[in-house]
Symmetry: C2
Subunit: 122 residues, 2 copies
């Protein structure tokens, strides 16, 4: 379970990493190469697709920080968790919820994402 | 979206169907043959595995009814929803949460399930 917590934290670290090379390194560590990522706004396959998605989100929400919104609930090879996006230490502007599937190699193979709070006009 | 609601309702109907042949018919309608179902207590592949799981749960919670606990939130090929298990019209004894992935043929190919409320001693 602590491994899964760490994996989720590293996954959120990828969303916060604005240096392209560093972000790709974190994604390679936590995300299977052919992993599938789907949220309400995008559905992509592979690390490159997720990397481009993260870069676009960072462009839209510059300066805001992703953080874990509560405990990670994990069993078998799956985990669910809520995440926040907002100014550091302040009320989140976006609240999302992901279910991650973890492959045999310990990396995330699939993310199924939903949104619980979005700013008006997004 | 209404199709997804209907699919989820039919999926819950399978959990409520105590006649084995009728349940298998509903499962064939809503669940891909090689679908994967994982919740905190079991991880099975294929309709037969899910059918056996449902039969076991019905044996444990005889007379209780599965119902949708709120709106189905769906996008792309995925949906999340909360379900209740309890006496008809009364406070649920078990509350669960599923994310379902829907295949190209419109049937559920994957269920990732979690529990939000469980009775003591289960």
């Amino acid at each position: 379970m602590s491994d899964t917590n760490e994996l989720v934290q590293r996954y959120l670290a990828a969303w916060n990493e604005t240096d392209a090379a560093a972000r790709q390194a974190v994604l390679a560590e936590v995300f299977a190469e052919d992993a599938v990522y789907t949220d309400p706004l995008v559905s992509v396959k592979g690390r490159d697709g997720l990397d481009a998605t993260i870069a676009a989100v960072q462009g839209q929400f510059g300066g805001l920080v992703f953080s874990l919104g509560g405990a990670v609930d994990a069993h078998h090879d799956i985990a669910r968790f809520t995440w926040h996006l907002g100014p550091e230490g302040a009320e989140p502007i976006v609240i999302g919820f992901d279910v991650a599937v973890i492959g045999d190699d310990g990396r995330i193979s699939q993310v199924l994402g939903f949104l619980d709070k979005v700013p008006a006009g997004i």
